[in-house]
Structure formats: structure tokens, C-alpha cells
């Protein structure tokens, strides 16, 4: 749990909380996120290059269904227990039905630091799980009416920076293979952890800036931000067992399920459901669920995975 990258997150958080002058240039943040997305894609693609792609398709179907289920469950909880208006509930649910690349990176790093391997296709899961939350969220809020610009939305989603760089990196990793990638590994692989550390420094700053969002509905949102990830992780673990993943793979799928989007989904919701309150969802996602996942969730999900996957026949 005391991975060094986490210390950078805590430093950023502290900087924000004590109102230090510390601020990273916005182009550094953008550069680091491009770097992380590309590298995660490349690593996944490199792994896929060495195995048959046949069994992948049904697995992708399964994790997309998982995303749909998570969105629906979150929506139900937010409507019934939380008594949120329809649009707000749908928007928050979309965040939790989708995934966070930063959480995934911390999880993958956590496993690597402990020498635990995972299936390369989990990086593909990351890519496809960005989408269902957004689609289901909008359907829940708007129904199947014609008002939503689905074409524009599909464009935003599939050609947005996140999905495009993940898929592009995957294509590069797959096409180049381990040997072809050798010349660029000094940049993309050797510096990955350092880049993740700097990125988490900025994440700490971002998280601290979202905490004021709890002024409204604080108690419920904090509880939801803690419990929804655990519930999602359990479903993710179940899905992982079903797909026959290793302990590492199941841990990462649980981490993905538990993670909530704070980039792609907020942007999509701003455009598709403008009347939904963006402050509430970001406060829950960034102020509670992201820190919980990287500080306590990942070790917990790994412990659960090793219990369940070990026990599975």
C-alpha cells in the first residue's frame, strides 16, 4: 500500500489542502495523460500480439454487459435511496458505470510492483468499458427520444482522446510486437512509473479542489462514493472468475469496475445532459472513490480476488 506513486498523490493532496502555491502547467498534465494512455495501450497491444484474439470477443461482450449492469445498479440506488432527480441520478450513474484510466494505471502498477501478472486483454477491457456507462446514462435520463445527438456523441466517445490513444497504442503495440517496440521502451516503459508519480501529484491537487462539492448532499455522496466501488468490485470479481481470469487479471477487472470516470464521462454529460449538476458527481468520483480505490481499494480487491480465484474450481 505504501507504493511510492501513492506518496506523490498524498503530496498533491496536501498541497491543495494547505493552499500551497503549487500548480503544474496544464500542458504537463496533458502530456502526462497522453503518455499514460499511449503506454497502457502499447503494453496491452504488445501482450495481445503473442496470443490468439479469438476468445477476446465474448470477453469484451461480458465486460460491456458488466458496465451496463453497474450503471443500472448505481442509477437504482441513486433514485431510490438517494432520491436524486432523474437526470442527476443518470449522470452520476454514468460516471460509476464507466472507468478511470488513472485508477487502472495505479492498479496495474500495484500488481507489477508485487510481481503479479495479469492478462494483456485487461487493457482492452479498459477501452471498451469507457462506453456503456455513457450510453446507458443518457438513455436513463432521456429515454429513446430523438433529442440526443447520438452521432455526435459516438464521435466524441470513440474518437475522443482517451479511447483513441488507448486503441492507437494497442494497434502500435500489436503491430510492432516486443522486438519492434524495443527502441521506444526507454521512453514509454522505463519512465512509466515516474510519469505516473507526477500524474498522481496533479491528481492530488485536482482531488483537493473538488472537496468543496460536498456542501450539497455530502453525507450521502460520501457513503455512495465508498460503497458503490466495493459493490462494483465484487461484480467485477464475479465477472473475472466467470471469464477464467488469473488473480491479477481479476483484481484489475475488479479495479476497473470499482473505478469511476472523471474525464470522458463528465465531458459527455456536460454536452448530453447539461442540466445535470457536474459538481456533485465530480466530488464523489474524485473526492471519495478515486482516493479510496488507490489507497485502500486495490489491496482489498486483490485480497478478495486471491480468495475467490484460488477457491474457484
Amino acid at each position: 500500500m505504501n507504493d511510492v506513486v501513492i506518496l506523490f498523490f498524498l503530496l498533491g493532496l496536501a498541497a491543495g489542502l494547505v493552499r500551497s502555491e503549487l500548480k503544474l502547467p496544464s500542458s504537463l498534465y496533458e502530456t502526462l495523460s497522453i503518455f499514460l494512455l499511449l503506454t497502457i495501450g502499447i503494453k496491452g497491444g504488445e501482450g495481445l500480439a503473442t496470443q490468439a484474439l479469438g476468445p477476446l470477443l465474448p470477453q469484451l461482450g461480458a465486460v460491456m454487459l458488466l458496465g451496463v449492469a453497474l450503471t443500472l445498479i448505481a442509477f437504482a440506488i441513486l433514485r431510490t435511496v438517494g432520491r436524486f432527480p432523474r437526470t442527476d441520478a443518470a449522470s452520476i450513474a454514468a460516471h460509476y458505470g464507466s472507468v478511470s484510466v488513472a485508477t487502472f494505471a495505479v492498479g496495474a502498477n500495484w500488481l507489477l510492483a508485487r510481481g503479479i501478472s495479469y492478462e494483456p486483454q485487461v487493457a482492452v477491457f479498459l477501452t471498451v468499458m469507457e462506453v456503456p456507462g455513457i450510453m446507458v446514462g443518457i438513455l436513463l435520463a432521456r429515454g429513446l427520444g430523438k433529442k440526443t445527438d447520438w452521432k455526435g456523441l459516438a464521435h466524441e466517445t470513440f474518437l475522443g482522446k482517451g479511447v483513441f490513444l488507448l486503441m492507437g497504442g494497442m494497434a502500435i503495440g500489436w503491430a510492432a510486437g516486443p522486438e519492434g517496440l524495443a527502441p521506444v521502451k526507454a521512453l514509454f516503459y522505463d519512465l512509466f512509473k515516474g510519469a505516473l508519480a507526477l500524474f498522481l501529484l496533479e491528481m492530488g491537487l485536482i482531488v483537493s479542489s473538488q472537496l468543496s462539492g460536498f456542501r450539497q448532499r455530502g453525507v450521502f455522496m460520501i457513503a455512495f462514493g465508498l460503497l458503490m466501488p466495493v459493490l462494483s468490485a465484487l461484480l467485477g470479481l464475479g465477472c473475472g472468475v466467470m471469464l477464467g481470469l488469473s488473480v491479477g487479471g481479476a483484481t484489475l477487472l475488479a479495479t476497473l469496475a470499482a473505478s469511476a470516470s472523471y474525464i470522458a464521462v463528465p465531458a459527455a454529460m456536460r454536452l448530453a445532459l447539461p442540466e445535470a449538476n457536474p459538481t456533485l458527481s465530480l466530488a464523489a468520483v474524485l473526492g471519495v472513490s478515486f482516493p479510496f480505490n488507490i489507497l485502500a481499494g486495490i489491496p482489498l480487491y486483490h485480497w478478495l480476488a486471491s480468495q475467490i480465484v484460488g477457491a474457484a474450481p
Partner: protein, 102 residues
């Protein structure tokens, strides 16, 4: 040769960076022939918008056009965006050369 100055209006919109693509598309549909965009930060009724993080940044769009078109665009943006997005908009008179451009 003396300068041939004509009056036009400049519409300035300060809003969320996430709206850039959408609003520029709207501008073109409404018949605007040019615009200029600057990156900005700021504070208003919807809180501080000043972040390394693109989602929480502002932009400042500037459009020079006829008074009538400026009012049409402002009207349209008011209805479409003012309630749900961090946004401020204002009009000013300006003097331009080459009136055929605007």
C-alpha cells in the same frame, strides 16, 4: 487616402472550455464568418474555473459581425446555454476596415 471606418459589433463570450467545439459549430450555423478564441481562467457565479485540468478551464470567444447577427447569436446562446453552463456574454461597438469581411 483616408481610412474608411465602419461600425460593427463585437460579441464576447466567456465560457467553459468543454463547450468550444459545440459553440464554434453553432456560430457557423448562425452565419458567423470568423471568430477568435483565447484560453482563459476566471471566477463567477459558478465558482472558480482555473485548472491545469482542461475540464475546469475557460475560453473567451470573440466574434466581430453586424449588430443584428451579434444579437441573434447572443439570443440563441442565452436560450441554449445560459442556464446550464458557466457563461458570460457582452456586446461592444467597434470600428473596422474592410466591411465586406464581417
Amino acid at each position: 487616402m483616408t481610412l474608411q471606418l465602419e461600425k460593427r459589433t463585437v460579441l464576447t463570450v466567456i465560457t467553459e472550455a468543454a463547450m468550444e467545439k459545440t459553440m464554434l459549430r453553432d456560430l457557423k450555423q448562425l452565419g458567423v464568418r470568423g471568430y477568435t478564441v483565447l484560453d482563459a481562467r476566471g471566477q463567477g457565479s459558478r465558482g472558480v474555473r482555473d485548472a491545469a485540468w482542461g475540464e475546469a478551464a475557460n475560453i473567451r470567444i470573440e466574434v466581430i459581425c453586424t449588430r443584428a447577427l451579434a444579437e441573434t447569436v447572443l439570443q440563441d446562446f442565452l436560450i441554449r446555454y445560459y442556464d446550464n453552463y458557466a457563461m458570460v456574454a457582452f456586446l461592444q461597438d467597434v470600428e473596422i476596415v474592410r466591411p465586406d469581411k464581417f
